[in-house]
């Protein structure tokens, strides 16, 4: 995924696994990271003496600032998202529907305390929403679904899904497979309950395990 991010992009990496993408960005890519709590130009996680409790990311982990960084208040930070100024955000997901609906904030389980944070704003605001997740649940069910059974975070917002078994493009025309990892299109189709198309322009190629 890191190599798919265009040079010069402004990017928000969601809490958890998406944060790992930053480890694979190169200096040449010149990516500016946004954090929802009010900063552009976020650097790597702070270690030892760098730790400053006034400088944290959305996951409340101490981070560093890079030269050229800026700070702003929360309404401005979410205006950056909602206003379409971010090129890409990367989020985790429970489910993604064939047309790009996202479910990632609430299981809807009885008694579960709901917490949404910035998930809906990110899903709605960024120009491209990339999801990274395992293709299958622990029980072996596909997380790419016809329509989400969990409460949704945003309607038709996901443009790409990166999984351990392939990369998928989602949108109004359904699901297109861009890459497979260690399996064939036919094998993927057996796992995923929505019709899959092969990406004509890119062509299918087995890139091996990610």
């Amino acid at each position: 995924m890191a190599r798919d991010i265009a040079p010069g992009s402004f990017v928000n990496l969601g809490i958890g696994q998406p944060t790992l993408v930053s480890n694979y960005l190169t200096e040449e890519q010149n990516i500016t990271l946004h954090t929802e709590n009010g900063m552009l130009g976020m650097g790597p996680e702070a270690k030892g003496g760098e730790i400053d409790e006034d400088l944290i990311n959305a996951g409340k982990i101490p981070v560093t600032e890079l030269p050229g960084a800026s700070y702003f208040h929360h309404a401005d930070s979410f205006a950056i998202m909602r206003g379409g100024h971010l090129d890409i955000c990367v989020l985790g997901a429970f489910q993604v529907s064939a047309t790009g609906d996202l479910a990632n904030w609430h299981t809807g389980a009885p008694g579960a305390i709901p917490a949404v944070g910035g998930a809906m704003d990110l899903a709605t605001g960024a120009k491209d929403v990339f999801v990274m997740m395992t293709l299958l649940t622990r029980e072996g069910a596909s997380k790419i679904v016809e329509s989400c059974t969990y409460p949704i975070t945003g309607v038709g917002c996901v443009t790409r899904v990166y999984t351990d078994k392939g990369v998928f493009l989602t949108g109004p025309d359904g699901v297109t497979v861009r890459e497979t990892f260690g399996c064939t299109l036919e094998e993927l189709q057996e796992l995923i309950p929505v019709p899959l198309k092969a990406a004509a322009a890119v062509g299918l190629q087995d890139q091996g395990a990610p």
């Binding site: 409790e53 309404a75 998202m81 305390i113 704003d121 709605t124």
Partner: protein, 232 residues
């Protein structure tokens, strides 16, 4: 009218039962722990609290919730690994929760300070958090009508104030401070340092003093909050 007071206890003395209180901070950054402790001490109850979270650990807002002072939380992310006091009250049905997407929370606070009667936003459209709300299709996108959140009091933390009440913040501790200062009828700021009038570059002022009513100095509160706010 701007007041400089000598203690956090004095700063919160006017907060009445039933007030809506905005509390700044995202995680520990920018959280005015000492003012929250003073609010706990002063005994005000039946509060509606507006904060991004619903308290963490055994300090600050979490203690206010534990002590049953908070009737309702308006926040975006109540559930955390250490939000046990909120979790317990919520499961016991002893606290009301209004869950708001974080950007809508920020914009609703901003709208209150800016005199806006409401706004349409795409965030939350088609989700359960928009149920029962007015919607429109604007520029081809579904949008939800959201209303401002006003408050009686805001408790915020800044780095420095000058003699006119102008404020500057520090790094990501700025977060909700500027918008809450504008949205509340009465804004109380705890700062690390008060400098004379003219001691802040007007180009760098983040919150103009017009939004600020009470200022109290709390040593070290602009730098690190790791040791601040622990109730003995």
């Amino acid at each position: 009218m701007l007041h400089f007071v000598d203690s956090v206890q004095e700063a919160v003395v006017g907060i009445k039962d039933g007030s809506t209180v905005m509390i700044g901070g995202f995680g520990n950054a920018g959280q005015p722990f000492e003012l929250i402790d003073a609010l706990l001490e002063c005994g005000a109850k039946d509060l509606t609290v507006v904060n991004n979270n619903a308290g963490q650990g055994d300090q600050g807002l979490a203690l206010l919730i534990k002590e049953g002072r908070v009737r309702k939380m308006i926040c975006s992310f109540p559930r955390q690994s250490d939000s046990w006091h909120f979790d317990a009250k919520y499961k016991a049905g002893e606290i009301e929760l209004e869950l708001v997407p974080q950007g809508n929370l920020a914009e609703r606070i901003r709208a209150a300070g800016a005199g806006i009667g409401g706004f349409f936003t795409p965030t939350g459209y088609g989700t359960m958090l928009a149920e029962g709300k007015e919607t429109r299709i604007i520029d081809g996108r579904g949008q939800v009508f959201e209303t401002p959140i006003h408050a009686d009091v805001a408790l915020i933390k800044a780095l420095k104030a000058d003699g006119k009440g102008n404020l500057v913040y520090r790094k990501t501790a700025r977060n909700f401070g500027p918008i809450m200062a504008a949205a509340a009828k009465h804004t109380i700021a705890q700062v690390t340092e008060i400098v004379p009038v003219g001691g802040l570059d007007p180009e760098n002022v983040v919150t103009p003093g017009i939004y600020v009513n009470t200022i109290v100095t709390v040593a070290g509160s602009g730098q690190s909050s790791s040791t601040a706010g622990k109730v003995a």
